[in-house]
Amino acid sequence: MSPADTNAADTNAADTNAADTNRADTNAADMKAASMRTVMAVPSVVRGRAGRLLVPLAVVVVLAALPLVLGAYPITLASRVLAFALLVVSVDILTGVTGLPTLGQVAYFGAGAYTAALVGIHWTSNAAVQLLAGVLVATALALATGAIVVRTKGIVFLMVTLAVGELTHQVAASWTAVGGTNGLAGIPPISVLPGGPALTLSGFVYWWVLAVFVVVFLLVARAMRAPFGRTLRGIRDNEPRLRALGQRTYSAKLAAYGLAGAVAGAAGTLWTAQARFVSPTDLGFDVAAFALLSVVIGGAGSLWGPCLGAALVILVRDEVSDYVDGRGPLLLGIVFVAGVYLLPRVRAVLGRLRAREKGFP
C-alpha cells in the first residue's frame, strides 16, 4: 500500500466515526475502538450526531444571551475569558494536538494585540480591519520564527519558545514607539460596521469577541478533523513513522505553527478590543505559563477542554481573588497541584462511564 492510500483510508475511518465521537482528540488506538463501536451500535450514531450539534449550539446560545442578564463588569470578564481561551486554543494546537509544548504563543498574542492597538490609534476603529491586520502580522511573525523553532522538539522546543516569548516581551518593554513598559493606552473603542457607531457598551464588544471566538474555534476544529489535523496527531504519536510513510512532517509542523500564530494573533486583537489597553505585562512569562497550564488542566488535545481550563484560570485569578483577599494566585496554585492528582482519576471515571454507555464494560 502506498503512503497516499494509507492516508486516504485513515481519512475514511475518521469520517465514519466523526459522528460518534464528540471529542476532538483521538489517538490511533481510540480511533480503532471508536470505529468498532460505530459498526456495532448503529442507533447511537443518530443520537450521537444530534447530541453533537445540540450541546455546542446550546452553549453558544447561552453565551450569546449573557449580556442580557449580566452587568457590565461580569461581561468584561467574560470577554477576557474568551480572548484568553482563544490564546489557549492556539497553545493546544501545538501542545495538545502536535505534541510540542510551547511557552511562546504570547509572542504572537502580543503581536496581534499591539497591531490592533496601533491600527486603532493611528488608522481606524473598525474591528474587522484590526482583526485582519493583527492576524496577518502574527502569522508572518509565526512563520518567520517557526521556520527555525519547529526544527526542535520536546524540552528544547519548550525552551526555544520560552526564548521567543521573552524576547518579544523585551522588545515590547524597551521599544518606545509602542510605549515601552507603560504600554499603549487611549485606544478608541472598536466599531463593527464601516463608519458605524463606536461600541462603548461592554455587551456589544462582548458579542464581537464571542462571534470571532466561535468562528475561529469552528475553523480550528474543522482543520483538526481534516487530514491535516490527523497528520499533526501522527507527528505527536510517532513522527519517524509518519516520515517513513512519506509525509513532510517539517512543513506540517510549520503550517501548524503558522495556524497557531494566526489564532493567537486573533486572540490578541480581541484582548485589545475588550481592554483598550496593551502593556508588556500582557505577554509576560506568567501569561505564557497560565496558557500552557490551562491546556494541561483542561485536557491537552481536546479543543473545548482547554477553553474550560482557560475560564477556570481567569475566573480564579481575577474574580474569586476578590473574595479571598486578593489571594487568587495562591488558590490557583492549589487548583493546579490538586489537578495533577485528581485529573487522572476524573478522566478514568469519565472513560469508564463512556464505555458503559456504549455497551462496553
Binding site: 528544547v156 525552551m159 526555544v160 524576547l167 500552557l292
Partner: protein, 289 residues
C-alpha cells in the same frame, strides 16, 4: 580597567547562578523532572536571610542563615521529590511544580509583604578592596571564591566517590542501576533535596547583591533555565560553563546595552540551542546521547 570590573561582576553572578542551576540540572538528569518550583525555593532562601539577619549584620547570623536555608531548602526539595515521583509526563510535572511555586511565593508575600527587602553582607566582607586601581566590593570576590569551592567540591564528589559514581550511572541509565540492586529512589530524593538546599543557600548568598522581593523567583528561574539549557541538561560541567557564560553575557549586556541585556541573553540561548540542541556540554550516557 572598566572591563575587568565587568568580568568580575559576571563571575560573581555566574557563581550564584551555578549554585542555583546545578540542582535544576541534576534533578532533570536523574529523574527527568523540570522543577519549575526551583526559583521559589531560591526565594525561600532569600527570605530566610531577610528574617534572620535583616538590619543586624553579624558573621554568626550570616552563617546561621546559610545553615537554616540549607535545612529548609533540603526539606522543601525532599517534599517536592516525594510529590513528583508518582507524576508522569512533562506537562503534568510542569503543572505540579508551577502550582507549588505559586503557593510558596504567595505565602511568602503574605508573610513578608511586597516591598524590596535587602540584607547586608557579613562584617568583614562589607568593605571594598582596591583592584585595578578601583574600589571593588569584597563580598562579590567572596562569591566567586564560594562558587569555585562548590564547583570543585561537587566535581570531587561526583568523580571521586562511590555516591558520585552511582549518581552518574543513574543519570546515564536508571533501569540498569536498579537492575544491579541499587535503590535509586533514595538517591533521587537526596539529589532533589541537595539541589534545593543549594538553591536556598544561593538565595542567602545572593541577598546582599540581588535583595529579596516577590517576582525575583521568576527572574532567577528563567536565568537558571537558560544556564542549564545552554550548558546541557543533567550535566554539572555544563551547568558551570552555562553559569559562567550567562554571568558574562548578563554583566556585559548590563554594562554596554542596559535596555537590551536580557534580549542578548535569550538570543544567545536561542543561538546555542539551534546549533547544539543538546547544549554545549551534555550529560554523557545513552539517555541523552
Amino acid at each position: 580597567m572598566q572591563y575587568a570590573v565587568t568580568v568580575l561582576n559576571g563571575l560573581a553572578l555566574g557563581a550564584i547562578l551555578f549554585l542555583i542551576a546545578v540542582g535544576l540540572s541534576l534533578v532533570f538528569g536523574i529523574m527527568d523532572v523540570l522543577n519549575l518550583a526551583h526559583g521559589a525555593v531560591y526565594l525561600v532562601g532569600a527570605y530566610v536571610a531577610v528574617a534572620l539577619i535583616e538590619g543586624h549584620a553579624s558573621v554568626a547570623g550570616f552563617v546561621a542563615a546559610v545553615l537554616v536555608a540549607a535545612l529548609v531548602g533540603g526539606l522543601a526539595g525532599a517534599a517536592l521529590a516525594g510529590m513528583s515521583i508518582p507524576v508522569r509526563g512533562h506537562l503534568d510535572q510542569a503543572l505540579l511544580t508551577l502550582g507549588t511555586a505559586l503557593i510558596i511565593t504567595e505565602l511568602i508575600s503574605e508573610f513578608f509583604g511586597n516591598e524590596v527587602r535587602s540584607v547586608a553582607p557579613p562584617p568583614g566582607l562589607d568593605a571594598s578592596v582596591g583592584l585595578f586601581g578601583q574600589a571593588y566590593p569584597a563580598y562579590r570576590l567572596a562569591l566567586v571564591v564560594v562558587g569555585v569551592v562548590v564547583a570543585v567540591g561537587l566535581h570531587l564528589l561526583l568523580e571521586r566517590t562511590r555516591i558520585g559514581a552511582t549518581l552518574r550511572a543513574t543519570v546515564a541509565d536508571r533501569q540498569m542501576v536498579e537492575a544491579m540492586g541499587i535503590r535509586t529512589r533514595r538517591l533521587v530524593i537526596s539529589v532533589f533535596a541537595a539541589g534545593a538546599a543549594l538553591a536556598a543557600v544561593g538565595g542567602v548568598l545572593a541577598g546582599p547583591v540581588l535583595g529579596a522581593q516577590p517576582g525575583l523567583d521568576d527572574t532567577v528561574l528563567l536565568l537558571a533555565l537558560v544556564v542549564v539549557v545552554i550548558g546541557g541538561l543533567g550535566s554539572v560541567r555544563g551547568a558551570l560553563l552555562g553559569a559562567v557564560l550567562v554571568g558574562q553575557v548578563q554583566a556585559l549586556g548590563v554594562a554596554l546595552l542596559p535596555d537590551q541585556a536580557s534580549f542578548l541573553l535569550f538570543a544567545a540561548m536561542a543561538a546555542v540551542l539551534l546549533l547544539r540542541p543538546a547544549g554545549l556540554l551534555p550529560a554523557r550516557g545513552p539517555a541523552h546521547a
